[in-house]
């Protein structure tokens, strides 16, 4: 049953979609970190902006790139479902968290400290 559901997915398209979405998320988190630094946000408020940009990015990708049906474009490869699609869109991934913190500290240092 599991294999049946997984075999309905065409792997290469899923891979290219996932890497495209990862690129989008990467750029968005870097920019959002820069915004957090410029605004001088600290601690919790900075991570609030992180959460806000995650949600906004997932919503816009689902609306514009996936044309409102994210289960048809992204997922975890084990079957097309809304839950796996939204989970995949909403998880930022460790690399992106570090990217956010990097530009956050960079811009905070440039604008507020120097």
């Amino acid at each position: 049953m599991e294999e049946e559901k997984a075999s309905l997915i065409y792997g290469p398209h899923l891979q290219s979609n996932l890497s495209s979405v990862f690129n989008i998320k990467f750029l968005v988190f870097i920019f959002s970190g820069a915004t957090a630094g410029v605004l001088g946000l600290t601690n919790l408020y900075g991570f609030l902006l992180f959460a806000f940009s995650t949600v906004l990015c997932a919503a816009l990708v689902a609306l514009v790139s996936c044309r409102g049906a994210p289960s048809k474009f992204v997922g975890d490869g084990k079957g097309m479902s809304d839950k796996s699609a939204w989970t995949s869109l909403l998880t930022p991934g460790m690399d992106n968290v570090w990217g956010f913190i990097l530009t956050w500290t960079l811009f905070y240092g440039i604008v507020h400290v120097y």
Partner: protein, 102 residues
Amino acid sequence: MAPLGRAIQWTAILVLLHTAYSTYEYLSQLKALDKPQDHIPVDVTIEALVSLVLFIFGTVLAAPALTEITWAKEMEKRTIDEMDSRLGFAGFKHRGAKFYGS
């Protein structure tokens, strides 16, 4: 679609740089007047958030189009014979010998 997305991305970057400079200038003013630097003008905050929304929107537009992951989408480009040629049922005896044989 993609060039529009790029244009929006670059606009957002420029707006953010403008915000950064405005913040820096305002904080320098506060520093010079020996006031506590604990806030930024409201319009600068709004400008920063607007640049963030613009950048996300521009990035999503500039990204390459996603293709559906269903097999049905891939089959639109191919015929069934390419995917499943049923080689076990292939027959090689045909009337070519009658036409071209001696």
